[in-house]
Symmetry: none
Subunit: 401 residues, 2 copies
């Protein structure tokens, strides 16, 4: 596989434009009654038109049999090998609440929990306190200064929060304090490398300080931390692909993943129509657009086959707004499958289409899992998507003499 | 490619069951008169049914254009990259005679040969002595103790035998004593690394001792050794896949390969029916079954097109016994092609089918080389087979958050 280092050497800036539309969790499985997947059940004249005018294939987000989380699924589409470019749990959690992480930050996932008089955990989730309560408690902890390191605390949902340690020389190689079961005391956070002594010390002091400040806040009278991770220092798309990329995504997590690879985040609304309008509005200012549609995945996760079909049809109905822009390269695919019948992410490959003037059309005339199997691109890893898009936009020079 | 290390982190034990049926050398080439391959010529209603109810594809055992030996062909199907997990010649020879190798053992392939009064080789195969004679001579050498290392000698066939050196601290990085031609003396075995001095010394002393013991056994009055290899210390399937795997194979070599990856070896009979009965009998005790059918390969090696067709039909006729068990995942494929017209292993990809509740069926309604090309899985490396089987058995967790 060609790596980012090689791509960097052959990438060239050009005025041509690429639109990458990611329909989250698009891939599906047949409905037991009709034998048709969500995408096969939906009426999609515009997606079918793009498929007919383009070249199709089936994409493996991480690899055959591997069910991707959101981070590997997206990073692979952005051209970053998901086995090499990994994003830790704490960082994902912070991205998910739109926390503005900076290089050097160490983030962890936190739980408010209940401890008894002896410091023994009696409820790892503090009775699932309300998000309002969580927000109030986070304010109590937010901004604590520990030996010159700032602890920034943001609520997530119910008992969940994120803590970000901001200061010089902090390693993220730390063990969890969460023992993952009740009846035990929170564990001391241990350094997992010799360079992590300082960070472990800070994290333990934060826990101690939290205990003090939460003393009278039963049931949420203690915190548990896990998944310490550094904000990753990935090469930026502008450097490796010589693109000026923008992201249009309503959900924080996906904006966060776009930011990690250096995309400009465009403010947008919650609906598909608003997202597409944002693209139209900024079309002249960037040469690469990542557009993220979330609701297909949500419907799949909920096991709501019909709703997923309707979201796909909604995407299709608004699609002409983007088609009318006639971008040099138009890519439609997904970060992974989320079949409604499985109610979750799955390992199944996802349909893929690429339309450009130079795409070598195949005979596929419908955008669906089954039709794309016969596509001209065959089956390909998601990390091939960016090189293909760049090539079709004539943004890659010859490799070798 | 995702490696065993990553798989290990997402594998989870579950009660679901996987059956991997390997029809050795199944892939073929068209008969010059009919234009149909062995598999296409055979009546296979049950395999066709599985193909119809499952998802199909074409598997490359090692890589396009590469003709696999038995070891890489099987290891790849077991999920072990055959370019990384190699089994040496001596070890394969030992596995082929059911020698119970242990960790640390060093095995080599031996030939009885003829030397003249000056120690010059006049016949590298000692006139192809009978297997009975070979067995008798092996008894003469078996169990020799050399400086605390035990030399275990087992007959193979005609002039061929296996020697296993068992003792502490033996390296297998040794040169051959076999000069590969006549008119020369056997070469001294040289250490190929500084750590192999002891092993070289032992191996040379063994050769000397053999010469002494065989002095009056013309034409088999000397031995030639080659292919020294360590019994490999591969990670076990129970560790990396969290499976409780069993192997059902009549031929020693395949039992040996299954043992190398930690499968339990179930005693079975020589016929396909007996093998399948063994599976039925032990179905409740394991969650993964490797079933090996050898005769397709033997018929192909013999260039016997018709016999290969008949063996395929025999497999098909007994198949309902396994289908009736309704395993969560049923995989049928081969370790490589053995086209009768080529009378040997070949590089051609092999047909593959996987049936499970979650397999995303394709339109393939026949199990054959040509039909599987249009399968929903496209073309895939054999190392993807295990991740796919595990995923379809819901034995893999999400990768990344």
């Amino acid at each position: 596989m060609i790596g980012l280092e090689q791509i960097r050497e052959i990438a060239r800036a050009s005025p041509s434009k690429i639109v990458l539309l990611v329909i989250d969790g698009l891939g599906g499985l047949p409905h037991p009654e009709t034998g048709r997947t969500e995408l096969e059940s939906a009426k999609t004249p515009n997606l079918d038109r793009l498929a007919r005018e383009g070249i199709c294939g089936m994409v493996d987000p991480v690899g055959p049999g591997i069910t991707p989380g959101s981070a590997p699924g997206h990073l692979a589409l952005f051209g970053y090998d998901p086995l090499k470019f990994t994003v830790g749990r704490g960082v994902l959690e912070a991205l998910g609440v739109d926390f503005d992480l900076k290089e050097g930050d160490v983030a962890a996932r936190g739980n408010f929990c209940t401890v008894d008089a002896n410091g023994i955990i009696t409820d790892r989730r503090a009775g699932r306190i309300s998000t309002e309560r969580c927000t109030e408690l986070c304010q109590l902890l937010d901004g604590v200064d520990i030996d010159g390191v700032e602890a920034l605390v943001s609520p997530v949902k119910e008992h969940r929060f994120v803590v970000v340690l901001r200061g010089a020389g902090l390693s993220s190689e730390l063990s969890d304090s969460d023992p993952q079961k009740e009846g035990l005391a929170p564990k001391a956070i241990a350094p997992l490398s010799p360079l992590a002594d300082k960070a472990a010390n800070i994290a333990n002091k934060f826990t101690k300080e939290a205990w003090a400040r939460l003393a009278h806040r039963h049931p949420a009278n203690m915190v548990l931390l896990r998944g310490f991770a550094h904000y990753p220092d990935f090469p930026k798309m502008s450097e490796v692909f010589r693109l000026n990329p923008a992201a249009i995504a309503f959900y924080p997590m996906y904006r966060g993943l776009a930011k990690v690879v250096g995309m400009e985040l465009l403010p947008t609304g919650a609906t598909i129509e608003e997202e597409f309008s944002t693209l139209v509005e900024h079309y002249n200012s960037y040469d690469f657009f990542f557009v993220h549609v979330k609701e297909t995945d949500s419907a799949g996760e909920d096991g709501d086959f019909e709703r997923k079909v309707r979201v796909i049809e909604e995407v299709d109905s608004v699609l002409p707004r983007l088609i009318d822009l006639d971008p040099d390269v138009f890519v439609v695919t997904a970060d992974h499958s989320t079949p409604a019948v499985l109610k979750g992410h799955s390992w199944h490959p996802v349909p893929f289409l690429l339309r450009s003037k130079w795409c070598r059309r195949d005979g596929v005339d419908q955008f669906s899992e089954r039709a794309c199997v016969a596509g001209g691109l065959g089956r390909l890893p998601a990390t091939d998507v960016m090189p293909l898009a760049l090539a079709n936009a004539l943004k890659l020079k010859k490799f070798g003499a």
